[in-house]
Symmetry: C2
Subunit: 152 residues, 2 copies
C-alpha cells in the first residue's frame, strides 16, 4: 500500500486531473469523442444529456484544451469538437475504467472488445497487445463485437 | 481512433464504472485510502471535504463494495474504511490519472514518484518497473519524494 505522501492535496497530480475530468459526463463525452462523435447534437443524442450540461462540459473541455472547437457551418453557426493530443492522452484512463467496469459491473463480459488493428490481438490491462506484445496507443486499436460462441 | 461501438451507453463498462467512481470526491477518497487513510475524521481533515459529502461518498463506496466498513470503537461507535479487492483494482485508474495530471497540470514534474519497492525503479505509464521490467500492482510500490537535484 502507498504510504502517506509528501504531496498535499491541492498540488497532487491526481487532484488536478480530477478538477478537469473528475465528472461523469465529462468522461462520457471524452469516450464518445474517441468513438468519433464530433457534433453537439450527436453528443446530445447519444448521451441523452441535458443541453445545458453538455454546453457546460464541452466548454470546460475546450477551456482546458482537452478538445478543440472548429466551426463547420456559418449560418447557423455550428461547431465540431475534436480531442487534442492532451485529450487523446486520456485513453489510458478510459481503458483502465473499462477494464474495471468489465471486471465488476458486467460479470467480466463486455459486448465489445478493443483489439490491435494490425494483428487483431486483444488489448490487455496494460494496453499491450496480448498477441504480438506491442505497446498500444489509441490510434493502434479498434473496437469489435466480442464473439460469444467461443470461436476465435 | 475507435469506431462507433456496438455497445449502447447504459450497458457500457465505462458508463457503469463511472456510475460508481465518476465523481471527484469519490476518487479522492479512494486515493487517500491507497495512502493508508482509514478513519472518517482523517479523510475529512486531509481532504477538507464537508462531512455530509464524505458520509454520502463513503456510504456509496461501501454499498458498491469498493470499501469495507469495520467498527473499531463501540462507545462512541466508530468505523474504519478499507479498500476491498475491488477497490484495490482501481489502482490502474488512479495511476493513469496521475500520469495525465503530471504531464499536463504540473509541467510534467511531480513532487513525488511511485517506485517499485524491491528495486527502486520508477513505475512507467503501463505500471511496469522501468528498471527491472516487472508488471506491478499496488502492493509492489511505494511513493517517495522526487529528487530535484538530478542525483538519482
Amino acid at each position: 500500500m502507498l504510504p502517506r505522501s509528501y504531496e498535499s492535496l491541492p498540488h497532487s497530480s491526481i487532484a488536478r486531473a480530477l478538477e478537469v475530468v473528475g465528472d461523469r459526463w465529462t468522461m462520457l463525452i471524452v469516450r464518445e469523442a474517441f468513438w468519433g462523435t464530433r457534433r453537439f447534437d450527436d453528443f446530445q443524442r447519444t448521451l441523452g444529456v441535458a443541453r445545458t450540461v453538455l454546453t457546460d462540459r464541452l466548454g470546460r473541455l475546450v477551456e482546458h484544451e482537452v478538445m478543440d472547437r472548429e466551426r463547420y457551418l456559418e449560418h447557423p453557426e455550428r461547431f465540431e469538437y475534436r480531442l487534442t493530443e492532451k485529450g487523446l492522452d486520456l485513453w489510458p484512463v478510459l481503458m483502465a475504467l473499462r477494464v474495471w467496469g468489465d471486471r465488476y459491473h458486467r460479470d467480466g463480459i463486455s459486448e465489445t472488445e478493443v483489439v490491435h488493428r494490425e494483428c487483431g490481438g486483444a488489448v490487455d490491462d496494460r494496453r499491450m497487445c496480448s498477441s504480438c506484445g506491442m505497446a498500444l496507443g489509441p490510434l493502434d486499436v479498434h473496437q469489435v463485437a466480442r464473439s460469444t460462441n467461443g470461436v476465435s
